[in-house]
């Protein structure tokens, strides 16, 4: 059984890392990062089987692909604190000559990253390709992917969703971060997504839900349940409801912090709500 307190401490430290990264360079995307902190923590600290001795081919291990690459601060923090690269390197986020580009890339050779993402809607196709290669290689490990809800407005997703079910790609678990927000406002106002559960099911996916994606236990249980549903002829989708900006009260329930950094005062307030646990870099 996972030690929930330890995982919550991990998540709290990740939130500090997110705030400090974007504050330092006065740019980046804290809102979605904070909302997905429990997801990344659960995935890398509890659910996924992986080698921190990074190898691009990833044979014999689970793989993860981030499609909504703008939430790089949470990705970088969790990768670093999971052992992929030195935690101190978070200091270089978005700086010149850094491996921690604004959006994740393989181009600078940062361990843990297997595809560039940022231009939205491409990650599910990539994850599907990796999943098909796992089948060809007779590798029983799972491919995980994460997608923003607004990102589903990109048509390529639906090409991939159709392909995955039609070809019984059942070694993939795609999680949709349902925070209901995108840059211009709520998804409901910008372009309503409709009934996503019905849509994924109509395309032939096995769909499950995590009602509170900011409850670490729920996320772990959901991911483990999803894993148990793989290998049964259907791709698995998790609709995970989160709160954008979770853990920093003034950033919650708004799209305002999608791509905006806190000032000095706001940083202090955010950090005070997330006291140091594992130690700042």
């Amino acid at each position: 059984m996972p030690n929930i307190n330890e995982l919550q401490d991990f998540a709290t430290q990740v939130r500090r890392d997110i705030l400090r990264q974007v504050h330092k360079v006065n740019s980046g995307h804290p809102g979605g990062s904070l909302g997905c902190t429990e997801f990344f923590t659960a995935l890398y600290q509890e659910v996924m089987e992986y080698n921190t001795n990074f190898d691009m081919d990833g044979k014999g291990e689970d793989l993860f692909f981030l499609s909504n690459g703008h939430i790089s601060p949470v990705y970088y923090s969790v990768l670093a604190r999971s052992g992929y690269f030195p935690v101190e390197e978070l200091n270089t986020f978005r700086l010149i000559d850094s491996r921690l580009q604004g959006h994740p890339t393989t181009h600078e050779g940062l361990p843990g990253i297997r595809i560039a993402s940022g231009s939205l809607g491409q990650g599910m196709s990539v994850a599907l390709g990796a999943a098909q290669t796992k089948k060809l290689n007779n590798d029983k490990h799972i491919v995980y992917s994460l997608h923003g809800d607004g990102e589903l407005q990109e048509g390529q997703n639906w090409e991939a969703i159709m392909y995955a079910a039609g070809n019984k790609v059942d070694n993939i678990i795609s999680t949709i971060d349902l925070n209901g927000q995108q840059i211009d406002g709520s998804t409901e106002n910008v372009l309503p997504l409709g009934n996503l559960k019905a849509k994924f099911e109509a395309f032939g996916w096995d769909v499950m839900e995590i009602e509170n994606g900011n409850d670490i236990e729920q996320v772990i249980n959901g991911l483990k349940e999803a894993k148990s549903r793989t290998g049964k002829g259907k791709p698995v989708c998790i609709l995970m409801t989160t709160v954008m900006g979770h853990g920093v009260d003034f950033m919650m329930h708004t799209h305002a912090w999608h791509g905006k950094a806190p000032n000095d005062e706001q940083l202090e307030k955010g950090l005070s709500q997330n006291p140091e646990t594992l130690g700042d870099y």
Binding site: S119, K134, L136, N137, D139, A160
Partner: protein
């Protein structure tokens, strides 16, 4: 003057299909993806021989490119097949981010390039693809001239680690390069030695350049003919050396003169040895319906056009 013989007209896309068939036997990591054009791309044999390594993605090119990028993770060498128009312009951002920027070992194989696609008309006749692809950092760009060269190139690119754009066409054209040729990426092939004018051609225009050289010879003009199958990386040394010898250049391609082979040659010469140059290419226009021969004639993409351009550039020396 050496005579190049057409050993029997064949389409370049069959060269791709037959090269892929051979790769299927020799390289177990080669996988193929197709967007509902298996017959047009001549991928049927590979599909029949290796159904487990063939992925029909449907009419969904964006997903095909993304999947191909993902399939490299774990050691596969994906060859994607569709028409050049849908292989490039339609999925430029997918190629840019998931393949080129991510440095993935994907081979984007594109048939029905240029006006020789024929009767389907401009919606399907891309004349901008070489430009789109050569602008992507790290992308290798190849445009082969006949069946034998396309087959050799298809086999060769599997050994190259990195993204490749391989462009070929629909119609049957003269097959005149050696069956047993060794295809070296980035290495120009000299077809004629000459002293008066250099003709640098790619794709279907190479055979036209050969015919043009024969015609020019009859007029007392000595043409050097270079087959540039690799637009990027460009064999700059071969181009500069020849331009220094002849003092004038004609480039010939089935592509817009903006962004194609001609511009790459012009940049090379501007930087190293400024030389008068004429462009046999489409001139910032779309194509239209017609037979391949009619279109090549109307858009000035044949031996006659190369002869005319050569005579013009000679006067500019």
């Amino acid at each position: 003057m050496k005579e190049y013989k057409n050993t029997g007209s064949k389409d370049t896309r069959s060269g791709f299909g037959d090269g892929l068939t051979e790769l299927g036997k020799t390289n177990e990591n080669v996988v193929a993806l197709c967007a509902d054009l298996t017959g047009s791309l001549k991928m049927d044999d590979f599909k029949a021989n290796h159904p487990e390594r063939f992925f029909q993605v449907g009419i969904a090119e964006a997903n095909m490119i993304g999947m191909a990028a993902g399939m490299t993770i774990g050691g596969k060498i994906p060859f994607t097949g569709t028409f050049a128009n849908f292989a490039t312009g339609r999925v430029y951002d997918q190629i840019r981010q998931s393949v080129a920027y991510s440095g993935k070992n994907v081979k984007i194989c594109a048939s029905h390039a240029g006006v020789t696609l024929g009767e389907d008309g401009a919606t399907h006749q891309i004349l901008e693809d070489l430009g789109l692809m050569k602008m992507l950092p790290g992308m290798t760009v190849i445009n082969t001239c006949d069946y034998n060269q396309t087959k050799a190139a298809t086999i060769a690119i599997a050994e190259h680690d990195g993204p490749v754009y391989l462009r070929f066409g629909r119609p049957k054209v003269a097959n005149f390069t050696p069956e047993d040729q060794k295809f070296e990426i980035g290495k120009a092939v000299k077809l004629y030695e000459g002293t008066d004018v250099t003709i640098i051609a790619t794709g279907h225009l190479v055979w036209e350049a050969v015919q043009a050289a024969v015609e020019l010879n009859e007029k007392g003009i000595s043409a050097e003919v270079i087959n540039i199958h690799t637009i990027k990386p460009l064999d700059e040394e071969a181009i500069i050396t020849s331009a220094k010898k002849t003092g004038c250049v004609v480039t010939a391609e089935e592509h817009n003169f903006l962004g194609g082979l001609g511009e790459s040659v012009a940049r090379t010469l501007a930087e190293n040895h400024p030389t008068p140059q004429e462009f046999v290419a489409t001139k910032d226009t779309f194509g239209e319906s017609g037979t391949p021969a009619q279109l090549m004639d109307k858009y000035g993409l044949n031996a006659a056009a190369i002869v005319k351009a050569s005579e013009k550039v000679l006067k500019r020396k």
